[in-house]
Amino acid sequence: MDFAFTPEQERFREEVRAFCREHVDSSVRAWLQAHHEEHDPVFYRKIAERGWIGMQWPPEYGGQGRSHVDMAIFYEEMGYARAPLGRYTGSVVFVGESIIAYGTPEQKAYFLPRIARGELTCCWALTEPGAGSDAAALQCRAVEEGDYFVVTGQKVFTSGAHLADVGMFAVRTDPNAPKYHGISLLLIDMNSPGITLRPLYTLGGWRVNEIFLDHVRVPRERLMGQKNEGWRHVLTTLGFERAGLAPVGTLLRTVDDLMAYLTQREEAGQPVAAAWRERLAELVTEIHAARWMAYRVAWLQDSGLPDLARSSMAKVLTADLHYRLANLVVDVLGLDGLVRGPEAPLDGLGEQLYRAALFHHIGGGTMEMQLNAIALQGLGLPRGA
């Protein structure tokens, strides 16, 4: 048992930390909020210059051959700095990792180095209006015509589709096969004729998208993995999505901001109720547990023992903590915590966290779906009717 980071890992952490100190400040957050974005192209280029996009990939694909623990360190530091990683996650964790797992050699050679250099970003389009938690109910149709698939249908809640160059789409290639068969994955250029986007704005403030596809022609070589057996691949990708990156860094940051605020208030002669500190202590304890949980998930991946139930646990726990901590911040600040604009304490952190909190309960699979996974895969409970 060893809860320590290696000297190399500590050095890497310092490197990321110094980078964030230099490149992330409150103006980055302000710009993102004003533009309803979770992506900052300038910042993204800088990460690419450091070689951190796809850092866990082998060098021949533009990576640094780093471990998942390194990735978790990167995410923790970036999260603590409140750095924008929206496109990073879409391009690297969802699509890039999937290309590694089941892309063709040509797809790997073409896409991965471009993703790693930051030239090309990706989005992951699975959810449809009629296929949310029941994702395999998807209806987006791809018909084979010669060397092309012709795709018609609709996707919804797609993060970053308006910025991405390429989308990884789950589509139905065989409508007559049983539900879990007949699904395939296609890498589709987002500027293809026939694609239109409609913005949807989230409660958290950032934009996601509705995607309409009308006879979009996709070359056959953009098929990923096995035709009609894409559901298996979808599950793998959802695994990456869950295992990746429980957002613990932002929780640590919010705790520190709140602690500093309480101390300031006390120093200004306004006593702080012990109850706030006790509630905060309870959350801090669980945040530490979540932190080790995230590192254990990464360590299990590095050890070749990916564990879906434990990934889901990390996700459910961090989602809970986001919600509970957001509420504590607002409770401590009082109604001022919901004020927007220059009058707002802590730069409006309270109201921003409160609005954004439930994202983690839904994105990447709802809490109920994660709890199902823990119960069925982790505890071996019988499937319901």
Binding site: R253, V255, A274, A289, M293, A375, G378, P382, A385
Partner: protein, 376 residues
């Protein structure tokens, strides 16, 4: 980074699991509860023969010279089995303090016997106190020795102990505490039973002008924090591991029952209301496990572990209480009956939340010791 146990630790876990499953089924848990001491000396001695009681005792004194992670493995398994034993008082707290301060004669007289389980040491320390400090006794120098008076509530494992280690303020050394070894039947020592609902026969210990010879003193008077060193953090971590084991066993029991119990023609474990309750409990257990082993590891590294031990105890206490509650609820009416086992966990869970400091004390400590993730 490595979240796995070593081969030796895995072997220890397996050995304990097999021994306790065979020798300590719930029938024996009940027998221990009904017994005078609250634990079964015979079982305790056999654990001594297995060599697990002296895990943290130095090798020179008959122990295994192991660390806190080893102890956490032992306590997690003990917690699973709801093992009642005086080990926490006798070896972790009492033995820990003796190993820190006793002279070589006292060490040789006590530590090997504590490590083997042949003798048991009680400590006049309230079970619900977790921070170094005075606990109610004052020692005054007197002809040829010391005279002690005062009162300590909630003393564990006193009944049947071979000796008691008294923690007393030293009237001759302001702000310092001293340790004294005494015969539990010494004149002037009286006990009032404070039996807990979990079956632990706690006592309130009164010292009425108890005279002890000079050689009863263990070490020199010390400031409280120095006297205890990491001992109380270790005890908290051990309690947390005990609670972790109890929580894990309660969840396992509930999961097993949910798979076999049928209602509406289906196992109740196929209903999401049950599944999600159990999934959340399994999460609490995992949270506790990570914090317990992180604290034990920090202790083994010689790192400051006050905060880590407080976190482990807080979270494991919650996990055990919630898991025991969930276990009863999943069992429905049967869970509320004395003749079934879930109630055994439920009654012990709340006790462990208090052992070595209640939740509020841990929260206050965690809040007071906060340092930013990135130092300013």
């Amino acid at each position: 980074m490595d979240f796995s146990l070593s081969e030796t630790q895995e072997l220890l876990r397996r050995t304990l699991r097999e021994f306790l499953q065979r020798e300590y089924p719930s029938r024996v848990v009940r027998a221990a509860e009904a017994s005078e001491r609250g634990y079964l000396p015979e079982i305790y001695r056999r654990l001594g023969e297995l060599g697990v009681l002296g895990l943290t005792v130095p090798e020179a004194e008959g122990g295994a010279g192991g660390g806190w992670v080893d102890l956490a493995v032992f306590y997690e398994e003990a917690g699973r089995a709801l093992l009642a034993s005086p080990h926490l008082s006798s070896v972790v707290l009492g033995g820990g303090l003796l190993a820190r301060w006793a002279d070589s004669a006292q060490r040789q007289a006590w530590l090997p016997a504590l490590a083997s389980g042949e003798r048991v040491l009680a400590v006049a320390w309230p079970l619900d106190a977790g921070e170094p400090g005075p606990c109610g006794l004052v020692a005054q120098p007197a002809a040829g020795g010391y005279r002690l008076r005062g009162e300590v509530p909630h003393v564990a494992h006193y009944v049947g102990a071979d000796a008691v280690l008294l923690v007393a303020e030293r009237a001759d050394a302001a702000g310092r505490l001293g340790l004294f070894l005494a015969d539990p039947t010494a004149p002037g020592l009286t006990v009032t039973p404070q039996p807990l609902q979990s079956g632990e026969p706690l006592v309130r210990l009164r010292c009425d002008d108890v005279w002890l010879p000079a050689e009863a003193a263990v070490g020199e008077p010390q400031p409280a924090a120095v006297l205890f060193g990491p001992t109380l953090d270790g005890a908290k971590t051990a309690v947390a591991a005990l609670a972790l084991g109890g929580a894990a066993a309660a969840v396992d029991m509930a999961v097993a029952y949910a798979k076999e119990r049928h209602q509406f023609g289906r196992p109740i474990g196929s209903f999401q209301a049950i599944q999600h309750r159990l999934a959340r409990l399994a999460m609490l257990v995992e949270e506790a496990r990570l914090l317990v082993y992180a604290a034990a590891w920090q202790l083994d590294q010689g790192m400051e572990a006050r905060r880590a031990a407080a976190m482990a105890k807080l979270q494991a206490g919650t996990a055990f209480r919630e898991a025991a509650t969930g276990c009863i609820l999943v069992h429905g009416g049967y869970g509320f009956m004395l003749e079934t086992d879930p109630q055994l966990y439920y009654r012990r869970a709340k006790v462990l939340e208090f052992a070595f400091g209640p939740p509020a004390a841990q929260q206050a400590l965690i809040a007071a010791t906060h340092t930013p993730f990135i130092p300013a």
